[in-house]
Symmetry: D2
Amino acid sequence: MITKSKPNRAKLLISCREKPGIISTVTNFLLEHKANIVHFDQHTTDPRAGMFFMRIEFELEEFDSSIKKLEEDLHEIAREHALDWQLSNNEKRKRMAIFVSKTDHCLNELLWRWKSNEISVDIPMVISNHTILKDIVESYGIPFYHIPMSHETKEDAEQKALELMKGKVDLIVLARYMQILSPNFISKYPNQIINIHHSFLPAFVGANPYVRAFNRGVKLIGATAHYVTNDLDEGPIIEQDVQRINQRYTAEDLKTAGRHVERRVLAEAVSWHVEDKVLVHGNKTIVFA
Amino acid sequence: MITKSKPNRAKLLISCREKPGIISTVTNFLLEHKANIVHFDQHTTDPRAGMFFMRIEFELEEFDSSIKKLEEDLHEIAREHALDWQLSNNEKRKRMAIFVSKTDHCLNELLWRWKSNEISVDIPMVISNHTILKDIVESYGIPFYHIPMSHETKEDAEQKALELMKGKVDLIVLARYMQILSPNFISKYPNQIINIHHSFLPAFVGANPYVRAFNRGVKLIGATAHYVTNDLDEGPIIEQDVQRINQRYTAEDLKTAGRHVERRVLAEAVSWHVEDKVLVHGNKTIVFA
Amino acid sequence: MITKSKPNRAKLLISCREKPGIISTVTNFLLEHKANIVHFDQHTTDPRAGMFFMRIEFELEEFDSSIKKLEEDLHEIAREHALDWQLSNNEKRKRMAIFVSKTDHCLNELLWRWKSNEISVDIPMVISNHTILKDIVESYGIPFYHIPMSHETKEDAEQKALELMKGKVDLIVLARYMQILSPNFISKYPNQIINIHHSFLPAFVGANPYVRAFNRGVKLIGATAHYVTNDLDEGPIIEQDVQRINQRYTAEDLKTAGRHVERRVLAEAVSWHVEDKVLVHGNKTIVFA
Amino acid sequence: MITKSKPNRAKLLISCREKPGIISTVTNFLLEHKANIVHFDQHTTDPRAGMFFMRIEFELEEFDSSIKKLEEDLHEIAREHALDWQLSNNEKRKRMAIFVSKTDHCLNELLWRWKSNEISVDIPMVISNHTILKDIVESYGIPFYHIPMSHETKEDAEQKALELMKGKVDLIVLARYMQILSPNFISKYPNQIINIHHSFLPAFVGANPYVRAFNRGVKLIGATAHYVTNDLDEGPIIEQDVQRINQRYTAEDLKTAGRHVERRVLAEAVSWHVEDKVLVHGNKTIVFA
């Protein structure tokens, strides 16, 4: 579903240990604050002793003052009931940095969906270890930063990127960025860095998945969008999809065909993250798509 | 998702006009009755002035006594808040009659899913206007009734079927039953008769959809499961799916290939109905699949 | 499969009435001309008395002189055996005009695939009845022509477009062009105008398919790429695809979601046409994809 | 496409090293023998120096005598041109043994497609290391053999199975047979044993793929049909497909849901093998589906 950026809307995400009455508690709280619930999704890993997850999208009259009050009061109820929560609202868009290297298909898809307002974010910057995509990025009026990177300069380069983004970025999307980020860098944006891997993980973890897919003779190729963790290609999966192929596809053709799955899967995952539809639990995601 | 028939579980479906606090009201009510919510789904056609739909799957301790009390009290709260509701529980299985003519693919799929407990119903009878499928049905230990039908005998035949089913059937599945039911018959089972149409409705409404699909040169064929109303092929759609074809398929091949989509789509729709995941609103369905 | 534009390659399409020995005749002919067959596809509507279709992709040494000789000799063999044929080669790209109105998703998809060499054509011009997409088109270095059109000016406008394209265009793609072309215009480009319709035809023929899909409550929306004929939405279908939706999609959401199916389906159909993989027979296509 | 078993039809499969004129040679040969080509498919791994694969489905008048003559003459032409070939005809059905353990979904799907003539084979026997599926098999009039198997008795058990099948079986389908076959056994039926693995290989090679898929949090589960080789789960892949899942699926639900993908994928692969649409090249398949 496509949640167009509607004014007066907020989204509340909650995680906590299962216990009786959580839904009542939270919906009563929202009722008291005159919130009008539009979408309600929940998930429990085990209704008796598991983890509980909830996403509520609601509308408020006199939004600015009401949401402020609601947020203040949330702290109290959250403390009382040991709730982890996150409140976002459509008036305040997330800020997304895109990291790219040389290929443009994922970048283009994100920029097109952004421009046509399917992905409602601000894009304060695109960062690249190459300059080849500079013109495309700037044609959208988005600042482009070139930060070269080699094995030796990695620490400095990452530091430079972190400084550029400081206080300006809520989400990083690796749109076929061909560098491995350091644990230090990742720790600054926990569950806020989305990568696209060009295989249906966990098949073909690592390098050259299309060549390996070709050699193995699979009948479907795929792509996987996941949060980046210190374990390469092992982070929580947000979305996956596949495409049928046959013997006429060369390894090169797989790469070309795969681009369409990659950009679609990445764009979906980014949309869901931006609309606060993804919760992370351990190494897995709950997606209320 | 496959909801295996779990004991101690009940499902509450609610429809009403949108108004503030419905979710709170209902979840508070469930909390008071010590119901442990497992799945909660809702939908609103318009958060300000639309219709509101809710499905709650919950568990109860001391199920038999608790559910009785809860059901009694539901009447009151429903009256007070003008809620339409339906409460079902896994201890009491729905009773499903299957109507067939000569082809076995949909029947077989339903019986196999029933036997492997994917569709948790009782099947008190299969009714057919032919005898060809008698042996299959009886091999599953299910009573088979042959009710011949011609244009002249239709009224009598339907009457006979209604008498056979009286008090014994909650749901009728037309598993490629090649007769049109009369308005009188349909009125006895509103939104409780599921049909499978062999096209992706509204394309190829009416007879011979595969021949017409072949002649039109479509690249996908499909099937549609819907509730039966007096308007042929126009009832609320529950599920649809398609399959890719190409020029090598003859009209006959389409028919053969289409059987797989038909049985899959019908079985999904029936599962969802049986698990109380389908609500009807006007001529559309809300499916909490 | 993605046929990258390879040099030294030609594609021969043949249609004729079925008769014994056609494949032998043609492959012998190619062997005599030292053609190296890479892909061979055929289809027969009836091996005894139907129509026969064949696509052969082959390589030649000393391409320029060899292909010339081969083409000359083709005339003779075709006359002798009553073959309809079409010979194209990767050295001579097709010339494609794109017609657009106000929406950019199909245009963007075509331009991106063109720029990344997935669709190997020349694009001598984009023609529009609006000016809104001028900048995008010109940013790719492609001439943009604005030809306003009203009910009264239609004949003139079409005439103007025909003159602009005269001798420069082999294929016209209507990338969400919201005007109906006249029979006179269409007759100039038989089976060379591709349109994208925003439904899985023949469902929702005509205007506002997404609104009607919403009202009918379908569970899949789709798009159809077809050749344009004088019968609106009735031309030979080249490609179709669908996307799953649910009750949370508003009519507006369907429109937004549908864009992704539209651009994918149109781009596939255009690719296949450009790679000479589509043959038309009556009101149907044979696609050797 | 579904090739119904048509009389008077034969299928010729050819593999050889690429060299000029192979298609001409073979089609001339067929023309001389008055064969009427219905379907022609070919594939080359490299048009200059690769391997060439061809499948021709053709009709013959006075089938029995003509096919005999054609087969005799094939030996000569094959020797001359160093062709590997295989000729089969619809008059002589393949003989398929099914191996099962305790689960019935794949067995049922095969038997239903066999009975409805979608899979045109003879089934001389079903062999199982358990007795639980005996009644189902015998209800179809097919002999059921129980061959118990333990680690100690494996060699004897396999020997017993081989003797039972001797001269009676062309194809073995492991329809969720939970035993690993020995290299000796496999060597008796090279590229003639089809297995269904319950994951989209190469993901989740080995045991308990559904539990591991659940733990990894994938968004798609799949199944893979492949020829059995001595490398477990590493044989040539014939067909794969996937199904979308979400967080509501437990590990148990994945298993239940996966059954539908498994039976569909296995049945497709078996159909293609039976219709001689699969050629093996190294560890990959060419499928002319």
